[in-house]
């Protein structure tokens, strides 16, 4: 059928019309080949604007549409839908961006108008060669995989499971709970962290729709949105979970002591252990790297004393193969290790602690039963809390870790509570108390008697210069609000260490085909408008793995990711855009160059036919394979050579 092109120039209020002479452009378009109608209108994206297009399609037989307006990122879906509603294939539509790429970036009215004419001419020539294409529909598997069992993973799992859909929650530690389980009280409400977390953990453990896979990791992922195949590596606990009743006898009998990771090495655990008393599931694991039986073949005390015969030294790792429709990654953070900051003496000087070490110490269920103690067993009389350790620093992490000002002030409050008469000093550069109730908390902590010094300390030393400094840790800093360098002797120093992504962030990103940013946090699709989605459809992220944040924001993101997943599950199917690449198998030589180049792993080699084939659902239409194919066997639908060259001609003519 002979192409009949309708051209519509949008004023976009004054956004375009103030700079581009839209009437002149419409007049020019009228003169272009195959254009049967050319109009200009104030707001093309509005209902009356769209009606103009629909009317012309129905009454004038327009069968190709060009709208010259804003960016396709804004309104391509809007106009494609309008075109479709009028009975035309949506791919017979082309947009010319005369706003972001023209009126908004050109000062001279004359130049902007000439450029707009060129852009319209390009779109007109291109749309002439458009083909009718159909979006592909793929079904969405209703199960979901959540990677990481901290508060983010737990929240997301409960949201989806409560909606009646199955969730696999994979956690690499023996219990879910994450870092939140290590905390004592949480800011600004001073809620007991375990008290608000354990009920959720319990619900997860008991939920019929959640399959909890702890002590497990992700081996391999393949597939595409709605249809992922995942291999999960379930490490052997050496304990039969179906028999174990969590009595804990094995742990009391085990003779081997190992530094407890959960207690930040401030206490010992056994070789057979649960990381903490409220573990979910409450089934211990044997640390085979330290267990005497696995190292030397002796002992077996746990087995001897277990009333349920639940110890199984022969237990092997398992590989599970599952199918899910969507994935939410909630792998959380790790604390910056301040040993690299030599001038702060962490690891070298006694009584310099990290934030997590202090959390364990102040926790009543921790290694000191909630007592704040120096290495010599006494209580400290004076404590310094240093902000921005490893954060806001080009040598370590340029970013601000967001939570340290608040948790540093929380420590001040807890210290004043736990240690009668203690003097607490906060060393800060800026106080970032941005959330609900946060500034009020800062006010409270000041009222309670915490002393704030504005000045990032130069060093922490034990080299005394006066008799008062002997036996103390001395903070050398500039009190910037006075403008003088000072030395303050204290008994204990707490470093507000920043937070970083987990050390395997890049590995996880690679497995799930998502990206990591400069600092290894996972990259969201859009930092403002789409913070829980990634560039890979069906893979979502939530919590600190996306960027540093507090518990309220983590929970909000987890619920957001769950909502996105539920939307996909609810729709039951997802549309894949048609501008994918396709291989003409009669031309394919089987060289496989495209296989390696595809950034989305969308091309596979079919052994029996000796050709490559593109998975349309994975293909994102980037065009790399199209350009690389030495046989010219790959066509890029909606970006064919004819279409692209026509567009170029339009610009140049």
């Amino acid at each position: 059928m002979e192409p009949k092109i309708g051209v519509y120039i949008c004023h976009c209020g004054s956004n375009i019309a103030a700079t581009v002479d839209v009437e002149k452009v419409a007049e020019y378009a009228r003169s272009l080949p195959s254009v049967v109608v050319s109009r200009d209108y104030k707001f093309m994206c509005s209902d009356p604007g769209q009606d103009l297009i629909k009317k012309d399609i129905k009454e004038m037989g327009v069968n190709r549409v060009v709208v010259a307006s804003c960016s396709p990122q804004m309104h391509e879906p809007t106009f494609r839908r309008a075109v479709q509603e009028a009975g035309l294939n949506p791919y017979f539509f082309e947009m010319a961006n005369i706003r972001e790429q023209c009126s908004w970036v050109t000062e001279s009215r004359k130049e902007a108008t000439e450029k707009a004419k060129a852009l319209v001419s390009a779109a007109v020539r291109r749309v002439y060669f458009h083909e009718p294409l159909e979006n592909k529909e793929v079904p969405v598997h209703p199960d979901t995989l959540i990677v990481g069992g901290g508060i983010a993973g737990i929240q997301a799992a409960l949201e989806i499971a409560n909606a009646g859909h199955k969730v696999y929650l994979v956690e690499k530690e023996p219990s879910i709970g994450g870092h939140m389980m290590q905390l004592d009280k949480t800011f600004p409400t001073l809620d007991c962290s375990a008290c608000i977390l354990t009920p959720k953990m319990s619900m997860v453990g008991a939920h019929p729709m959640i399959e909890l896979l702890t002590f497990s990791e992700i081996d391999y992922v393949s597939g595409y949105v709605g249809n992922f195949r995942v291999k999960i590596h379930k490490k052997a606990r050496s304990v039969d979970a179906t028999k174990c009743n969590g009595c804990g006898t094995c742990m009391t009998k085990c003779p081997i002591k190992v530094d407890s990771e959960f207690d930040e090495k401030l206490s010992k655990r056994k070789a057979i252990y649960t990381p903490f008393a409220q573990a979910v599931p409450n089934v211990p694991v044997i640390d085979r790297k330290h267990c005497t039986y696995f190292l030397k073949g002796k002992c077996r005390a746990c087995e001897k004393f277990c009333e349920r015969n639940a110890i199984d030294f022969q237990q092997e790792d398992e590989i599970l193969d599952i199918e899910v429709g969507n994935v939410i990654i909630t792998t959380g953070y790790k604390l910056f290790d301040p040993s690299v900051i030599k001038e702060y003496g962490y690891g070298r000087l006694d009584n310099v602690l990290t934030s997590l070490e202090f959390e364990r110490m102040v926790n009543s269920a921790g290694p000191t039963g909630g007592q704040i103690l120096l290495k010599n067993g006494k209580e400290p009389e004076s404590i310094a809390i240093i902000h921005c350790v490893g954060s806001r620093d080009e040598k370590y992490h340029e970013y601000c870790s967001r939570i340290c000002c608040m948790y540093g002030m929380k420590f001040a409050h807890l210290l004043l509570e736990h240690v009668h008469g203690a003097k607490v000093y906060e060393f800060y550069i800026d106080i970032r108390s941005f959330g609900k109730g946060y500034e009020e908390f800062y006010n409270r902590v000041q009222r309670e008697g915490t002393i704030f010094f504005r000045g990032r300390p130069g060093e922490i030393t034990d080299v005394a210069q006066t008799p008062e400094e002997k036996g103390k840790l001395i903070i050398q800093f500039e009190d910037t609000l006075i403008g003088k360098q000072r030395r303050l002797p204290v008994d204990m120093v707490i470093l507000c260490s920043g937070i970083e992504p987990q050390s395997d962030a890049q590995e996880i990103a690679h497995k799930f085909n998502i990206s990591c940013g400069k600092e290894n946090f996972f990259t969201e699709r859009h930092p403002k408008l789409d913070p829980v989605a990634t560039m890979t459809d069906g893979i979502f992220i939530a919590g600190c793995c996306q960027g540093p944040k507090d518990i309220p924001d983590t929970v909000a993101q987890a619920s957001a990711a769950a909502a996105r997943v539920l939307a996909l599950i609810n729709n039951g199917k997802v549309e894949i855009e048609a501008d994918t690449a396709v291989i003409d198998e009669s031309k394919c030589s089987g060289c496989r160059v495209c296989n390696l180049l595809c950034p989305y792993n969308a091309i596979s080699y079919i052994e029996k036919d000796k050709v490559s084939r593109i998975n349309e659902a994975l293909c994102k239409g980037c065009g790399t394979c199209v350009a690389a194919c030495p046989s010219g066997a790959i066509t890029h639908r909606h970006f064919t050579d004819v279409q692209v060259l026509a567009e170029l001609e339009g610009i140049l003519v």
């Binding site: 806001r392 990032r456 500039e478 403008g483």
Partner: protein, 184 residues
């Protein structure tokens, strides 16, 4: 640029070698907190940077700050914004001297006497250099140093005669080049 087209004090300092990041200072105070001689400065290093940004050229170049920098570089090593306060401080010394400010300390006398020793001998002739320095500043103070001088001399650490280096003329060519602006 200020209205009359002259560079502002801040622009002048920022254009010195390795000083362009002065605008990025967040005034955290690590430089002053680490500075080995900060307690003697009228305005500690952080304040010096703040005063440059505030255009307080006169107060700054008349003070004793900047003259006490001993180039220990702790400030530069620890600055979280990768600014080089030591470079800025030494740059300010140059500006002060070029524009005729008289330093309130003996620092420039020591620098000049030291430099003269280098141009004369190609190396520092400690005995001569110290003698000249004390004669120019405070001859009586030299007497206080006598025990130290005797100790050094008896351990063979302070030759009484000067030794010139070979190729001293070539060294002086290099120094002249740098003194007159050098190859930038």
């Amino acid at each position: 640029m200020s209205d009359n087209g002259q560079a502002t004090f801040l622009e002048q300092v920022a254009s010195l070698p390795a000083c362009e990041k002065i605008n990025e200072c967040i005034q955290c105070g690590v430089c002053s907190g680490s500075c080995s001689t900060a307690t003697r400065w009228e305005y500690p290093p952080r304040k010096v940077i703040a005063m440059v940004r505030a255009g307080m050229k006169d107060e700054l170049l008349k003070s004793n700050s900047i003259w006490f920098c001993v180039s220990c570089y702790l400030c530069t090593a620890r600055c979280p914004r990768d600014i080089k306060p030591a470079n800025i401080i030494h740059g300010l010394e140059s500006i002060a001297l070029q524009e005729g400010y008289k330093p309130p300390t003996k620092t420039t006398t020591m620098y000049r006497t030291f430099a003269a020793s280098i141009t004369d001998y190609g190396r520092v002739y400690e005995f001569g250099f110290m003698l000249k320095y004390f004669l120019k500043t405070n001859p009586l103070a030299a007497l206080n140093m006598l025990p130290l001088a005797i100790g050094l001399f008896s351990h063979g650490r302070m030759p009484l005669t000067a030794k010139k280096v070979k190729g001293k003329d070539q060294l002086n060519i290099i120094i002249n080049r740098l003194s007159t602006g050098g190859d930038r």
